[in-house]
Symmetry: C2
């Protein structure tokens, strides 16, 4: 994790970003997309894609790193340490929802879980554990189960949003409501 992509010349950084973003979009839509498809979506030749990412695995790695970075930002914005754990958890939901397609990649396992365990998933588990100690989260439910329920509903919310079956301002209240009720003691 000592890459210094940020310091590369403008053009390179821009191209790299375009490819990673297109990869996220296309992979979320179909985990088995071809590299050619991703290159097209990025508005870039397949040759160029291979110049930045020698093979599929390298591109997937980059997508993984992107995921962890965006996850970390979301944690910061939700201020997980402020107030009681359940309220913090409900603050986190809309932030996670902003991750969009990354949620799909995370959930469908396109990004290897190992990447995420190394810092992406830990804060949420810690938050739930705090809720257990405080008593703001149902102690009858395993930490893993609570984490799973939150992720599952987030993925559902994103899928609904993406399909255009409901608007964000309709979805978020229902998401928060069902998560709240499910995990409350």
């Amino acid at each position: 994790m000592t890459e210094v992509h940020e310091t590369e010349t403008g053009a390179r950084a821009r191209t790299r970003r375009a490819i990673v973003e297109a990869a996220v979009r296309e992979l979320a839509h179909d985990a088995a997309t071809s590299l050619g498809q991703i290159a097209d979506a990025a508005g870039v030749g397949r040759t160029t894609l291979h110049r930045y990412f020698p093979d599929r695995a390298a591109l997937l790695d980059a997508v993984g790193s992107e995921t962890v970075a965006r996850l970390t930002e979301a944690h910061a914005r939700a201020r997980l340490d402020d107030g009681d754990a359940r309220t913090a958890l409900l603050r986190l939901c809309p932030e996670y929802l902003l991750l969009g397609d990354l949620l799909t990649l995370f959930f469908t396992g396109v990004v290897p879980d190992t990447v995420l365990d190394e810092g992406g998933a830990a804060p949420l588990a810690a938050l739930v554990a705090r809720g257990h100690r405080e008593g703001s989260i149902d102690r009858e439910l395993d930490v893993d189960w609570v984490v799973g329920v939150v992720w599952a509903q987030l993925y559902l919310a994103w899928a609904t949003l993406r399909e255009g079956q409901a608007a964000r301002h309709d979805i978020v209240p229902m998401l928060v409501r069902t998560v709240d009720k499910a995990v409350a003691p």
Copy 2:
């Protein structure tokens, strides 16, 4: 839907079942498995597989039919019309969980949603609508959202079970508990 596979000679029916079951297992594990992989898992030559299912689409169709059939059985066992809707919904959860890998196929969209809409998914939506009328299910939540929450948690429960991270007798109570709390008014 006028196939008469049941009336075929013993050997043919047995082989056919073995292939479909292996397909469910392998496709749940990896939606992009090759037909050769499925044939191996079924303990059958690839030639034989092609004899029963000319191409991939035909096999997927068969898996879809299997899904609808098993779904219908589950609905019958749960007696969806007995008692109040929320209680019936909670009865349905363990029944659905018995579907195992089929849950994964359903959820990951390996089986085209159109197949399921034609009879697989309707009863659940109808049940939730009844719950809304009765008042046993939270009216603040869309029917679609409630259905989604149930499916998402079922999938989570099955995934946890399949990974061996928890036993069925630990999972089912938590599943029922979170579904109940989430959908209760």
